[in-house]
Symmetry: C2
Subunit: 358 residues, 2 copies
Amino acid sequence: TQQYRITLLPGDGIGPEILTVTVEVLKVIGKQFDITFEFQKGLIGGAAIDETSEPLPSETLELCRNSDAVLLAAIGGYKWDNLPRLQRPETGLLGLRAGLNLFANLRPATILPQLIDASSLKKEVVEGVDIMVVRELTGGVYFGQPKGIFTTETGEKRGVNTMAYTETEIDRIAHVAFEAARKRRGKLCSVDKANVLDVSQLWRDRVITISETYPDIELSHMYVDNAAMQLVRNPKQFDTIVTGNLFGDILSDAAAMLTGSIGMLPSASLGSTGPGVFEPVHGSAPDIAGQDKANPLAQVLSAAMMLRYGLNEAAAADKIEQSVLAVLDQGYRTGDIMSHSMKLVGCQEMGDVLLKVL
Amino acid sequence: TQQYRITLLPGDGIGPEILTVTVEVLKVIGKQFDITFEFQKGLIGGAAIDETSEPLPSETLELCRNSDAVLLAAIGGYKWDNLPRLQRPETGLLGLRAGLNLFANLRPATILPQLIDASSLKKEVVEGVDIMVVRELTGGVYFGQPKGIFTTETGEKRGVNTMAYTETEIDRIAHVAFEAARKRRGKLCSVDKANVLDVSQLWRDRVITISETYPDIELSHMYVDNAAMQLVRNPKQFDTIVTGNLFGDILSDAAAMLTGSIGMLPSASLGSTGPGVFEPVHGSAPDIAGQDKANPLAQVLSAAMMLRYGLNEAAAADKIEQSVLAVLDQGYRTGDIMSHSMKLVGCQEMGDVLLKVL
Ligand SMILES: CC(C)[C@H](C(=O)O)[C@@H](O)C(=O)O
Ligand SMILES: CC(C)[C@H](C(=O)O)[C@@H](O)C(=O)O
């Protein structure tokens, strides 16, 4: 019997509800696949600020380090929006990424046939879309130094961030992306702004160099403005996309929204060693928190990604993913993905029907 | 009789064809509104590289400075894609923006009822979309210092760009945006990444300060990743958007693509004094260059923007815009916007029917 220690970070808003459902799913899956999960809980985001006045207490980081994987729900809410940046929920998330060295963020954007009508795009445009965005997560303008708000010689303020990548940083994310493309349809599109930015020029040069090790992968390059256009115009042209932290933030959200159902999308953040963090793409939805209305499926699918990418338990991951599709086939929908003649259920009930299918 | 000196920059690819049509339109409009245009031609982009080995010869910048407005067509092409960045067409464009101090870029994204089927989004999602993106154009990560590819202490390369804004830079673009919103539906959404970036924090603070002068404008703030999502999900929520150079590059292209017909979209780049530059949003389309297939209407509408924003000739601008709609109503379409049972025309013929309507 395999044994894994999982750190649960419920965070804010709908986080606790959707994580509760997910833990139940994991327990059942564990029995079926002879896996024992040992769960431990940590504070992050607004919940951590309220209790400790820090968005990422050092105990939380320690808990995470001493586990095999981290399941994160969602952070943030109006309540903490006006605190200084260092004390905000987002800063806790950035600290977690940096602290665990999670440089690779995998964000699938897949259109499920059952939910195709939820998309704001025409059916023929999005049918069959299956994109994996590989986003660099611990570098670029998010972390570059120098940064801050300085006073110029003329006495006015100047806000500064530094968009920077070293060769090492580019190489390691490129390897992750080429490997991901190899497990998919063998196409990788690297997105940059090499016609304007020096950092993108280095990015492109290194991606080309690394590509020599992957002759089986078809590599292309696209400027970020064009990529934003092409995602809207014809998303089916994309298989795997690799890009820097900021461009990945923007493009993975645009790609996610093509599906029309971001309540369904999981993500994985991985380092070279140590535990990964698995979390839904959607936010903490404070307006529906505690009302049993949230869609738990992105969190459940994040647990599947944890099994697949974090714990190497692909069979268990498959089982979860198939069960989610089965539940949709049976017509169960939470409010965010509800449509005509389907069965509206709450967060907990969605969990229950999923357990039945499992 | 009013007299204006206009610098024409045909550039590359389809640039010369679409500009030729536009000049004919301006000549007719001139007669009707008692305006005399004096045209002078300059080299830019690949065309300039081929003749002078520089993408923006100093004579071109001088010509522009000595004119009332600049009509630019399009630059770039495969031919010049592998030159070092300083000798590339794009660098000429950036030099023109910096050289004329064109800090404000206005990019409308309007759905024309005649072309609504061209959108990849559902009709009910895009019907009536009318967005103006006000993009800062001479600052941010495009121009921030330091930049370059440096060698670190450990001997590896590090690509660096600096994303920076001063208060002065933010204030002046904010004023342009609030004024633009006032002439529209009175709503302004400022897009930043203030939850992560110091430069965005200063941006947001200044936009809030400037907003006190515009109590009639409804100001909101949105993170750039969410803005990319919301443009796809429900673009009708936007009226005027103001944002920095890089975010504006990405979002204005995404917004343009919502219309499905970027062959129709003009843009204006303005400074506080001196001539503005007016150009289509689309590129130089080298694959159809010289084949009389290009859509000249974005260039024609750029001339209308020139009349409206650059020369204060709103009546003449109105006339051009109405004529373009009339030509579409009559069913004339170039290949890029062609649809069932419409009349396919080439670049020159589209110009001819437009002249007839005028
Ligand atoms: C909350 C924020 C700091 C974060 C980011 O920008 O990375 C979020 O948008 C995301 O994409 O995970
Ligand atoms: C060609 C390029 C330098 C330019 C930019 O990035 O500004 C273009 O994409 C644009 O938006 O006008």
